[in-house]
Amino acid sequence: MTEMIVKPKRLHGVGTRAANRSAGSRRSVFLLVIVAMLLTIGLGAMLSASSVISIQSTDAQFDLFTKQVMWVGLGLAALVITSFVPYQMWRKFALPIYTLVIVGLVVTLVIGDTRGGATRWIVLGPATNPITIQFAEFAKFATLSLLAAVLTKKGALLRDIRHFVVPVVAILGTVSLLLLAQPDFGGILLIVIPAFVMLAASRVPLRFVLALAGLGAMTMTVLAVSADYREERLRGFLAPFDNALGSGLQAVQSMVALGTGGMFGVGLGQSRARWSWLPNAHTDFIFAIIGEETGFAGAISVVLLFALIAVVGVSIAYRAPDMYGRLLAIGIVAWLSIQALINIGGVVAVLPITGVPLPFISAGGNAMLAGLAAVGVLVNISRASDRAPRAENRS
């Protein structure tokens, strides 16, 4: 650790290309350290939050936890691989990968497992220890990669609204419709919003982006109030304490957990909310458990780590060797940041509850795998900026 601290500082002062080369790897090391810290916090919180559920459902107390450790291991392996795969590969295969995910989403609708009214999972393997595949988690990367590739290719043509609207609507519309069919409202948000962030960071005229964003926001609002359960969630969000046992239950219990934690928390493994008070304590609401056990001190640290991911991610995008790398990087960063914002925003009751997991922390194998693989892609883009001079031709 000390060596890592000293080296960049010394080289940075020289101000040569060597400094640039190291700057990329320094940023990627920084990114990896942040992710490693989040993973550690996440496993700790998982151990506490899931132990109660494991006690109540099976005899093996650490069952959920060991599964999560396994997924973290798989995710890290994927991260190592993607960090060595030249990111231009993703551009080359963007369309086939997107097509594959679309097919996967269609198959999910046909043969998928329906739980709680949503058809999101394909279950494989033996019934005792099944593996579930959630294509929506991989659709995020695939869609953002294809969008980045198209925007890069179109280049200056994007100033023509037809060249802009047709591909963007086609790419986002297809995947959104398939997710809506599941339904997975959170999944749509996590593709569409990062996509707009990517558009905002591209050369597309800002008025196009804003117009499309306005249209999208209207559609989302209509969707949000069209389905009963979404409307319920909205009402629980607007007046949680009036519906403390119904739609406001999670928001109220989440705020109770955070309040119980106070500034410094009730101590590791001491959470009360996990004892059947806070639903989904080990998945969507794990941040509340962190806030309860480690207090504001621990919770704000997690917030800070996610903010740092945004900063480091934007700087990686900024230094990316080409336009595709820049757009893909900002897309990934936007995806991870917005997912974290939506999740934590729901926990602290400033956003409606959407049911999206907290990246690197919540239980859930597919999200963990997709998120860590995406970090690997960011690492690769970051390291590429050391090898190539900063690209002037961004097309």
């Binding site: 320094r26 962030v197 960071a201 050369r203 119980t260 009360r272 900063v311 934590i344």
Partner: protein, 603 residues
């Protein structure tokens, strides 16, 4: 770590552009770069907002919200202490609490409801089909509770547990459920009583009378519970220890009690009586060593228990004592010096008082001595003695002997009997009461009356509980009330008179004679009053009250049979106390005296 968070490392990339000479104009203000930085700024602002909200929730609003959580988690649970034990006089358990279990299932935790049902059905009162249906319904509706076997002992629990573990079934729970058991079964059942099924509180007998002593004081535990209402491991807030129940030591002698119940059952069978009761009392102390009632019940067979079989007839059943009460009339007259044992009394066949004609059974001489009036049980003679005694004096002695008032016995369900004050007496009351009618008493009250004679004229309050042993070992001993009713001389003379009832040729109580001990006593036969028809019926209450050995009595035994019928092989009418109840006295008194270690006083 500090270095990592320094401005240079965070914003180095942006600053580097400036430093390495490509400059601001070249990059930063290009449209794309500006937008990229704007995106970064938006994210930082968003996280800043979240951080502010977090501070608000965990700082400013923390206490209020934490309180909501505290309120919803806090529950007060009571800790039930172990219930005390009821012992007989030798320290043998009559009622005790043992570990027990309720075996229940959470259907939601079952992997295979059908398999679980097949494994559990043999231990359950429910059939395989019922269990399987209940499990599946539970899984479908989320009802997480199904009863398999309730109130089983440790041994059964272990057997079920082994079977469950062998079969690898999850979701079976064994909840503590203390069990009240009665090792003596039906012995002294009506005296011991019973506890309620669900909370083990006493509802009959000593279990009820001494409930507050036996159950102790429940403790309180303030705990934090889960959303499902279970206590959570780390959430214990406060404990107020419970105080264990006290033990109750009774005066019951299991051997004598058992003998009394056996003798009572035999007598009931022989005489076709519908009910009966027996009291065995130690006259010197007031201790009740046996108190038996028929019909009876095995307390462990809960399904057989009904109010009828739990009725402690010796204290709950009021009857007209009949001739046994003549003893009081005569003892009062002797004590008051109105007559002596030898005073001759005219005994015509009948005497008419008001509109009522009283007559004697069988053939009696025209006059007889007071002692013969008692041994021949002459109604006419006793009425004459009562006339000489007078109502006021008579009533005084009835009260002194404890009639018409609670005996003070320490068991639930005692009735007082009936004895009107003299102001309410009619023309015939004195005569009727003199021979044991128009007055109601319990078998126990009558035992105390005769114990007064046995105890040299001192009435002693009968009792069933000799001491209460507190959890800390402190013992509270019972001291009964006493009062002198007769002089020792009168009492001794009465014992001689009662001995004559048993021992003389013409005595009505000859069947009370024992092989090993002398005895004194009095027979009683009263017509049963039929409430429905408002008249006396042919059915009788046949009784015998006696003491032995007669000159220094160690036991008093009361035998009461309700509606005995039939004829003894030797021709005696079994509806009479002398024929049906007296032999029962002899049987029990002999066993009791041997059990008490009294030396035989007859060759």
């Amino acid at each position: 770590m500090v270095r990592f968070l320094s401005a240079t490392s965070l914003f180095g990339p942006f600053l580097a552009n400036v430093r390495d000479g490509r400059g601001m104009s070249a990059h930063i203000w290009k449209r794309g770069d500006f937008r990229l930085l704007l995106v970064g700024l938006v994210f930082i602002l968003a996280w800043g907002g979240i951080g502010y909200r977090l501070f608000d929730l965990q700082g400013n609003q923390a206490l209020a919200n934490a309180e909501i959580g505290f309120d919803q988690r806090i529950k007060t649970r009571s800790i039930d202490p172990p219930r005390g034990t009821i012992y007989d006089r030798d320290g043998v358990e009559l009622a005790m609490t043992i570990d027990g279990f309720n075996i229940v299932v959470d259907p939601m935790l079952l992997d295979d409801p059908a398999h679980a049902a097949s494994v559990l059905a043999p231990f359950s009162s429910k059939s395989y089909e019922e269990l399987a249906a209940e499990f599946e319904k539970g899984q479908a509706t989320g009802h997480r509770y199904a009863e398999i076997a309730m109130r089983v002992d440790t041994q059964t629990r272990d057997i079920v547990k082994a079977a469950v573990e062998d079969a690898g079934i999850k979701g079976v729970f064994y909840r503590d459920q203390p069990l009240r058991v009665y090792p003596a079964g039906s012995v002294a059942a009506q005296v011991i009583g019973l506890t309620r099924f669900d909370d083990n509180s006493g509802i009959e007998g000593l279990e009820r009378t001494f409930n507050s002593e036996l159950e102790g004081r429940p403790g309180r535990m303030i705990v934090e519970v889960s959303g499902r209402g279970r206590t959570i491991p780390q959430g214990e807030v406060l404990i107020e220890e419970s105080v264990a129940g006290s033990d109750v030591v009774t005066t019951i002698d299991r051997e004598i009690q058992f003998a009394a119940e056996q003798a009572l059952r035999k007598a009931i069978q022989k005489t076709s009586a519908i009910a009966g009761s027996i009291v065995v009392l130690l006259p010197e102390t007031g201790e009740v060593v046996a108190m038996a009632s028929w019909p009876g019940v095995d307390l462990n067979a809960r399904s057989d228990v009904s109010p009828e079989v739990l009725r402690n007839r010796a204290v709950a059943e009021v009857y007209e004592p009949g001739s046994t009460l003549k003893m009081v009339t005569i003892a009062a007259a002797l004590e008051e010096g109105i007559v002596t044992s030898k005073t001759p009394i005219d005994t015509p066949r009948s005497v008419t008082i008001g509109e009522f004609e009283y007559e004697d059974h069988g053939r009696n001489p025209e006059w007889m001595s007071v002692e013969d009036v008692l041994s021949r049980s002459s109604n006419v003679g006793t009425i004459e003695i009562q006339r000489r005694l007078g109502n006021e004096k008579h009533y005084e002695y009835l009260l002194a002997f404890g009639l018409g008032q609670p005996s003070g016995i320490d068991v639930a369900g005692e009735r007082h009997g009936t004895l009107d004050p003299t102001q309410a007496w009619t023309l015939t009351s004195g005569s009727s009461i003199a021979i044991g009618y128009a007055v109601g008493a319990t078998a126990l009250q009558m035992a105390a009356v005769y114990a007064t004679i046995a105890n040299d004229g001192v009435w002693t309050e009968p009792y069933l509980v000799s001491e209460i042993i507190k959890p800390n070992g402190d013992r509270i001993r019972t001291t009964p009330r006493t009062r002198r009713v007769l002089s020792p001389e009168t009492a001794a003379e009465m014992r001689r008179l009662l001995h004559r009832v048993v021992e003389t040729e013409s005595g009505t109580g000859r069947r009370a004679m024992m092989e090993d001990y002398t005895a004194g006593g009095k027979t009683g036969t009263s017509q049963k009053f039929d409430v429905d028809s408002g008249a006396y019926s042919d059915d009788t209450i046949a009784s015998f009250i006696g003491m032995a050995p007669f000159d220094d009595p160690r036991v008093v035994v009361v035998v009461v049979l309700d509606s005995p019928r039939g004829t003894h092989p030797d021709g005696a009418d079994l509806s009479l106390g002398g024929a049906s109840a007296a032999p029962v006295f002899a049987e029990i008194a002999q066993i009791a005296l041997h059990q008490l270690g009294v030396a035989p006083d007859r060759d």
